[in-house]
């Protein structure tokens, strides 16, 4: 039986809201619509109580205390608040931040804004698997360094950074470590204490919660981290982030975090098996397919594959039965390969032919098998009409032709 098409393999982009999450949210659109800032009546009290339950639920997922969770509109806002807020607060110490070349734009762009304002930004390189070397972090720290921002897991490749080691180095040097855990949260265990992070961003819609809500963990002890607010207004969230709380969204994030915490181990085991079935199924039938990312230190749900001698946009079009995302877009005469793959040293031709498959809780083995068939057929068809594949089979290196 053919499954309903197109099949969704883009769970790193976003996830559907879990039914249990939706159920938890619904009352807060209706009868429990109160504003948690309303201290004078039961409508407000009920909303506030729900928000505090959610705070507890999210805190538990990452091993924090509820007071350390600040609600935001999503990971982009969390990253902005963490990076710009910390740098503004501690600017007397120096004007240096350390990040990594494969970060998401939501980290790179706030860093670029700081660079424009006179800050020095170090972009650490990654190895061919996409990992930052902790020794390079250590070497980059100066007495001017205020913040290190390194993501927990990369969105394109799923590669996990050695965060705990970096955390130890940061702690020893007395530098704050921020991590964008948008992709990692709900997929790998995260404990802020053992990771040594001072700030952690996460988003609800990547873990089967709703879009438009996220949070920032801000450490309160050893050391207590203070941030300069980036949103001025009615002093919600202890003055750190003004704006009426998105109660249904927050309740959803809380429920999603609790479910993720409970089901993480089972989900991860199942997803690794499906991910490897996809990877092996494709690679056993097609030559010259490259896995981009770390072979083992990688998210359970992500496989980023490059198919030599075919072009990415054409491959995406052939794969119209699968909802996947590509390493680049042929939007104009010049292609911009993914900055992540580029930083890993993946040649442009392979970066342009990279496809990210990201699996999720609803993914089934039937879907994986359908995907394997679709990928193998699409790549074979495109290679059959690729002059580069023909040259390569004749023993001529087509990269020299270009």
């Amino acid at each position: 039986m053919t499954p309903k098409l197109p099949l969704y393999f883009d769970y790193n982009a976003t996830t559907p809201v879990d039914e249990r999450v939706l159920e938890a949210m619904l009352p807060f659109f209706g009868e429990d619509f109160g504003n948690p800032s309303s201290r004078s009546h039961a409508f407000g009290w009920k909303a506030e109580a729900a928000v505090e339950v959610a705070r507890q639920q999210v805190a538990e997922l990452i091993g924090a205390t509820p007071q350390e969770i600040t609600w935001t509109a999503g990971a982009t806002e969390s990253n902005n608040l963490a990076i710009k807020g910390a740098c503004e607060m501690y600017r007397d110490k120096g004007r240096h931040i350390i990040t990594c070349s494969t970060e998401h734009r939501a980290v790179l762009d706030p860093c670029a804004a700081l660079a424009k304002a006179g800050w020095q930004v170090t972009h650490l390189p990654v190895d061919e698997a996409g990992r930052v070397d902790p020794a390079k972090v250590e070497a980059a720290i100066t007495d001017q360094t205020v913040l290190i921002s390194i993501m927990a897991a990369n969105n394109e490749t799923g590669t996990l950074h050695p965060l705990a080691e970096i955390g130890r180095i940061a702690k020893q040097a007395g530098v704050l470590l921020h991590t964008d855990a948008t992709q990692a949260a709900g997929k790998i265990p995260l404990a802020v204490e053992s990771l040594g992070v001072a700030l952690l961003s996460l988003s609800a819609h990547k873990l089967y919660g709703p879009k438009g809500v996220g949070c920032l963990y801000v450490r309160r002890r050893s050391p207590r981290v203070r941030l300069a607010k980036q949103m001025h207004g009615g002093s919600h969230e202890r003055g750190l982030r003004s704006g009426t709380l998105n109660v249904p969204g927050i309740v959803g994030l809380g429920a999603a975090a609790e479910i993720a915490g409970n089901e993480l181990t089972d989900d991860a085991e199942r997803l690794v098996a499906l991910r490897d079935r996809l990877d092996e199924g494709v690679r056993s039938q097609l030559p010259e397919v490259q896995l981009n990312g770390h072979p083992t230190e990688r998210l359970c749900n992500t496989a980023n594959l490059s198919f030599a001698y075919v072009e990415g946009e054409a491959l995406m079009m052939k794969l119209s039965s699968l909802a996947v995302s590509s390493g680049s877009a042929c939007m104009s005469a010049s292609r911009e390969p993914s900055h992540v793959l580029k930083a890993m040293g993946v040649p442009d031709a392979l970066a342009n032919a990279a496809i990210r498959f990201s699996l999720g809780r609803p993914t089934t083995v039937e879907e994986i098998d359908f995907a394997i068939g679709a990928i193998v057929q699409a790549v074979r068809e495109l290679r059959a009409i690729s002059p580069l594949y023909e040259l390569a089979r004749e023993g001529i290196d087509p990269t020299r032709l270009q």
Binding site: M317, I385, P387
Partner: protein, 135 residues
């Protein structure tokens, strides 16, 4: 398929015509391999010209985006049965119009136009050599 693609585009991308190779050593065959410097698309186009100066066969292979593949297919279809003189007047605008290419995809039309000119030039070179005494 993206919703804004013309049926002609879908036809030529999904089931490209005249994919393959002709004998590049034949004097009746002109071969061109052209690339777009910016994006790395590669098109190989071959024409086989009969005694009357008509293009009897045209074959192509493309490494490139969907538009470059569809352009290769449509171009070979257009070339078949035309005289070399007619083919020399081939314009990429024909590809742009027939495939309803948006401006950012029109480098594929230029790629096809370049390929047609280069294939004819190659055929002419080889044909001229035919008349020359062996050295």
């Amino acid at each position: 398929m993206e919703p804004n693609q013309s049926p002609e585009f879908v036809k030529h991308f999904s089931h490209p015509r005249n994919v393959g190779s002709l004998d590049r050593r034949s004097r009746r065959v002109g071969t061109a391999t052209v690339t777009v410097a910016d994006c790395g698309d590669v098109m190989r186009l071959q024409i086989e010209v009969d005694c009357q100066g008509r293009i009897a066969r045209a074959m192509f292979k493309t490494f490139g985006c969907s538009a470059a593949i569809a352009a290769g297919s449509l171009t070979t279809e257009w070339l078949r049965g035309r005289s070399v003189d007619q083919a020399e007047g081939f314009s990429g605008d024909y590809i742009t119009e027939r495939l309803a290419l948006t401006p950012e995809k029109q480098h594929s039309s230029r790629l096809a136009e370049d390929a047609v000119r280069a294939a004819i030039a190659d055929w002419k070179r080889r044909r001229c050599r035919q008349g020359q005494p062996a050295s």
